[in-house]
C-alpha cells in the first residue's frame, strides 16, 4: 500500500449481540497497525453496515459475531454488498465460529475467519496480502494469507 493511501477498515457488530471485547481489541489493534478504523458500535443491521461501508468507502469490513448468528448475518451483509456493487470490499469475520462453519463462510466469499487467540498482526497481514493481491500486486508479507484455523 502506498504511504498516502491508508487501508480503511469498518469494524462492525451486526445483530443484537453485545460482546464487544473482540471488536474493541481489533479496532484498536488495526489502528495501531496503521489502518484507518471506523467502529460502528453495537446493534447494527446488515443494511446499516453495508451502507456505512459504502459511504465510508472502506476496503475491509470486519464483522464481530458471538451470538451464533454468524451464518445468517454474514450472508445478509454479503448479499447487501453485492446488491450495491460493493463486493470488492474484503469481508472478514471474527467470533466464536465452529470449525464446520468456516468453510461455509469462505464459500460465501468471506476472506478470513478469526477465532479466539488470533493475533492482530496476523489479521493485519491477511488484510494487506488480500488487498495487494486484488490490486494485482503480490506482496510477500511472509505470513500465510489463509484464514486462521485452530492450531
Amino acid at each position: 500500500m502506498g504511504q498516502d493511501s491508508k487501508i480503511r477498515v469498518l469494524i462492525a457488530k451486526p445483530g443484537l449481540d453485545g460482546h464487544e471485547r473482540g471488536a474493541h481489541v481489533v479496532a484498536y489493534g488495526l489502528r495501531d497497525e496503521g489502518f484507518e478504523v471506523i467502529y460502528t458500535g453495537l446493534r447494527q443491521t446488515p443494511e446499516q453496515i453495508v451502507s456505512a461501508a459504502v459511504q465510508e468507502d472502506v476496503d475491509v469490513i470486519g464483522l464481530s459475531i458471538l451470538s451464533g448468528a454468524h451464518l445468517s448475518l454474514t450472508r445478509k451483509v454479503m448479499e447487501g454488498l453485492r446488491a450495491k456493487g460493493a463486493d470488492d470490499i474484503l469481508v472478514t469475520v471474527g467470533g466464536i465460529i465452529p470449525e464446520q462453519d468456516m468453510k461455509t463462510l469462505e464459500n460465501m466469499g468471506v476472506g478470513g475467519v478469526f477465532t479466539s487467540g488470533a493475533k492482530i498482526k496476523d489479521i493485519a497481514a491477511l488484510i494487506r496480502a488480500k488487498l495487494s493481491r486484488e490490486n494485482g500486486r503480490e506482496e510477500d508479507t511472509g505470513i500465510s494469507a489463509e484464514p486462521l484455523s485452530r492450531t
Binding site: 453485545g18 464487544e20 474493541h24 484498536y28 467502529y39 458500535g41 451470538s67 479466539s116 487467540g117
Partner: protein, 582 residues
C-alpha cells in the same frame, strides 16, 4: 511481635546485600524475579479492624464460619448424592431456547431425569433488548441464545413445567434479564396472582443489573438515568411486596470478561452497587430494608491465584465498609456480598488451543475459591471455549475436580487460611487501596451513572482489553499453548466430547416462525382496548418521575400487552441509549 520493626528492616537490608543482590547479579538480571514479604511489608497489627472473624464485620475472613454446602459435604459423599457444587442453590442449570413451549418441554424432560431445580432462564437477545419476535431487529435471533418471550401468556407456558411440588412458592427462579427486568418481575408477580400464590411467597433472583450492561454486556435499551428509575421502582416493589425475592445480581464478571483489570472490576462493581443502594434510598426505603436482598452474581476471575484470593477478601471488606460507614447499615446481612460463584479463573482464561489444559486452569481457580471463603468449584468445564454446550465428560471432570479439592485436598477445612500472611494482608490492602482510588475517580465524576454517560467506564474496559492483547502478542504475558510452548514437540491431547443432546436443532430452526404465529394469535385474541388503555396509563405515569411504574407495568402485563409494547412506551418517553464510540 518480639522483633522490632527496625530490627527486621535492618535484617532485610542485610539480606538484600548479602543474599539477594549477589544472586540477581549472578543470573544477570535487572531485578529479582520473586518477592518476599516480612512483618514490615504488611500492617498485621490491626487484625480485628482489617480481618476479624469469619461471619463478622468486616467479613474479610468470609461471610460465614462455614456455608450450607460445607455442613452437608460429608453426608453428600456418604449418600453418593450429586450436588451441583458452585451452582446457585436450588436453581437449575442456566438455559433457554426456542419458543416458550419448546423450553417448557425441555424443562419437563430434564425434570424426568431428576433435575428439579427452579428455572434459571436465559432469554433470547430479542427479549433482552426489548423487542418482540416479529420485530425487524428479531430476524435470525428468535429463540437462539435463550427462550423467546413476548407476553405473560408465553411466561405462563414456560411455567407449566413448574406446578405441584415444583410450584413457584416452592422453587426459586433466576432471570438473566436487565433492561426489561421490571417487565419480567411484573410477569412473575402476575403469574403468582393467576395461581393464587401470595407475592410474599415468591423466591428468586432477577439479574436487574443494568449499569454493567453499559460497561460490558451490551443489552441496554434506555439511557442510564431512566434505566435507574426502573431499577428504583423494582427495588421498592420487590422490597414491599416480594421480600423473599432478591432484587438484583450485581456482576463484575461481565466487566472483567470484557477486558477490565482487577482494579476496574472491583471499583466499577462497587460504584454500580453504590448507585443501586442510592436508588433504593431515593425510593424512600431504609438501607436495612432492602440491602440484604442485593446479591452479587460473581466478580471476574483470572489465573493469578494470589491476586484472586486477595480480591475476594478485599471485595468483602470494601462492600461491608461502604454499607456500614457510608450508608449507615446496621444489619450485618446488608453488609455481606452474597454470590453463588466466588473466586474463579474467568472464562476468558480458557484457551481454544490444547483445551484439556483448561482443566488444571479451572482447578487453580477452585483452589483460589476454596482458600477465600467459597466453594472450590473447578469452573468452567474445560470445553468452555469450544462452543455452546459443555460435554458430559467436561462436566464430569469439573465435578470430580471440585470433589477432589474438597474431600482429598481439604482445601476448605480452614477459614481464610491466608489470614495473617504478610504477603496476603499486604496484597489485600493494595487491592482495596487501588480499587478505592479508582472508585474515588468515579465519585468525582458524579458516580457510576455519570461515568457511563461520559463514556469513561466502557472506554476504560475497552482499553484494558487491548492492553492485555498487546501484552500477549508481545510475550510480556504468557499463555501456555497460545503464545509459548507451541513447538513441534508439543502434542494436542485428544479428547472425547459427547455434548448432551440439549436443544433440538429442528425446533431451533423453526422457532422464529412458530413464535411469530404465537404472537399473532395473542394479538388477535386479547382485548385490544384494555391493552391500549393500560399502555396509555403507563405512558403518562412514565412521565412522572415520582411514580412507581411497577403497578402500571403489572396492569399492562395482565392485559397481555407485549414486552416490546411496554418497552416502546419507555422508548418514547425515555429515549434510547446510544452505543458508546471508542
Amino acid at each position: 511481635m518480639k522483633d522490632s520493626r527496625e530490627k527486621i528492616q535492618e535484617a532485610e537490608k542485610r539480606w538484600e546485600a548479602e543474599v539477594l543482590n549477589p544472586r540477581v547479579k549472578r543470573f544477570n538480571l535487572e531485578k529479582s524475579p520473586t518477592s518476599f514479604f516480612t512483618p514490615v511489608s504488611s500492617n498485621n497489627s490491626h487484625f480485628l479492624e482489617k480481618v476479624g472473624f469469619p461471619g463478622q464485620y468486616p467479613f474479610t475472613a468470609g461471610n460465614n464460619p462455614f456455608d450450607f454446602w460445607k455442613a452437608h459435604a460429608k453426608t453428600a459423599a456418604l449418600m453418593d448424592f450429586r450436588p451441583d457444587w458452585g451452582g446457585a442453590g436450588g436453581v437449575g442449570k442456566y438455559g433457554g431456547f426456542g419458543t416458550p413451549a419448546d423450553y417448557r418441554d425441555y424443562l419437563l424432560r430434564m425434570q424426568s431425569m431428576g433435575r428439579k431445580g427452579g428455572p434459571n432462564i436465559a432469554f433470547d437477545l430479542v427479549t433482552q433488548c426489548g423487542y418482540d419476535s416479529d420485530s425487524p431487529f428479531a430476524e435470525g435471533e428468535v429463540g437462539k441464545v435463550g427462550v423467546a418471550l413476548n407476553s405473560l401468556r408465553d411466561f405462563s407456558v414456560i411455567y407449566e413445567a413448574y406446578t405441584g411440588d415444583l410450584d413457584i412458592d416452592k422453587v426459586p427462579s433466576n432471570f438473566t434479564i436487565n433492561a426489561p427486568a421490571a417487565v419480567i418481575i411484573a410477569m412473575y408477580a402476575c403469574l403468582a396472582g393467576k395461581r393464587g400464590i401470595p407475592l410474599d411467597r415468591l423466591k428468586g433472583t432477577p439479574q436487574n443489573d443494568i449499569l454493567k450492561e453499559f460497561i460490558a454486556r451490551g443489552t441496554y435499551i434506555f439511557p442510564p438515568r431512566p434505566s435507574m428509575r426502573l431499577l428504583r421502582d423494582t427495588c421498592v416493589f420487590c422490597c414491599r411486596h416480594m421480600p423473599r425475592l432478591n432484587i438484583n445480581s450485581i456482576g463484575g464478571y461481565h466487566i472483567r470478561e470484557a477486558g477490565a483489570t482487577r482494579t476496574q472490576d472491583l471499583a466499577f462493581s462497587m460504584a454500580n452497587g453504590i448507585a443501586y443502594i442510592e436508588a433504593g434510598l431515593e425510593g424512600g426505603l431504609e438501607v436495612d430494608e432492602f440491602a440484604p436482598a442485593f446479591t452479587f452474581n460473581a466478580f471476574g476471575g483470572s489465573m493469578e491465584i494470589y491476586h484472586e484470593i486477595a480480591f475476594q477478601r478485599a471485595a468483602r471488606r470494601m462492600w461491608s465498609r461502604i454499607l456500614k460507614e457510608r450508608f449507615g447499615a446496621k444489619d450485618p446481612r446488608s453488609m455481606v456480598i452474597r454470590q453463588p460463584i466466588t473466586a474463579h479463573i474467568g472464562c476468558s482464561s480458557t484457551t481454544l488451543q490444547r483445551p484439556l489444559n483448561n482443566l488444571p486452569r479451572a482447578v487453580i481457580g477452585g483452589m483460589a475459591a476454596g482458600m477465600s471463603g467459597g466453594i472450590p468449584g473447578a469452573f468452567p468445564p474445560f470445553d468452555e471455549p469450544l462452543g455452546l454446550g459443555h460435554s458430559l465428560e467436561a462436566v464430569q471432570l469439573q465435578i470430580d475436580a471440585t470433589r477432589i479439592m474438597i474431600y482429598e485436598a481439604k482445601v476448605a477445612d480452614v477459614c481464610d487460611p491466608w489470614a495473617g500472611s504478610y504477603f496476603m494482608e499486604s496484597l489485600t490492602d493494595k487491592t482495596e487501596e487501588d480499587a478505592l482510588a479508582e472508585l474515588e475517580k468515579i465519585a468525582n465524576m458524579g458516580g457510576a451513572v455519570a461515568a457511563i454517560e461520559n463514556g469513561y467506564m466502557p472506554r476504560a474496559v475497552a482499553k484494558s482489553a487491548y492492553e492485555r492483547q498487546k501484552q500477549i502478542e508481545a510475550q510480556e504475558e504468557f499463555v501456555v499453548g497460545v503464545n509459548c510452548f507451541t513447538g513441534a514437540n508439543e502434542i494436542d491431547v485428544s479428547i472425547n466430547r459427547a455434548v448432551e443432546a440439549t436443544y433440538d436443532p429442528e425446533l431451533m430452526k423453526t422457532a422464529e416462525d412458530r413464535q411469530k404465529e404465537n404472537l399473532a394469535r395473542l394479538k388477535r385474541e386479547r382485548n385490544g382496548k384494555a391493552v391500549a388503555s393500560s399502555l396509555k396509563i403507563l405512558n403518562s405515569q412514565a412521565r412522572d418521575q415520582n411514580k412507581n411504574l411497577m403497578p402500571a407495568i403489572c396492569e399492562c402485563v395482565e392485559n397481555d400487552a407485549t414486552l416490546q409494547e411496554i418497552c416502546d412506551v419507555f422508548r418514547e418517553v425515555f429515549g434510547e441509549a446510544q452505543p458508546v464510540k471508542l
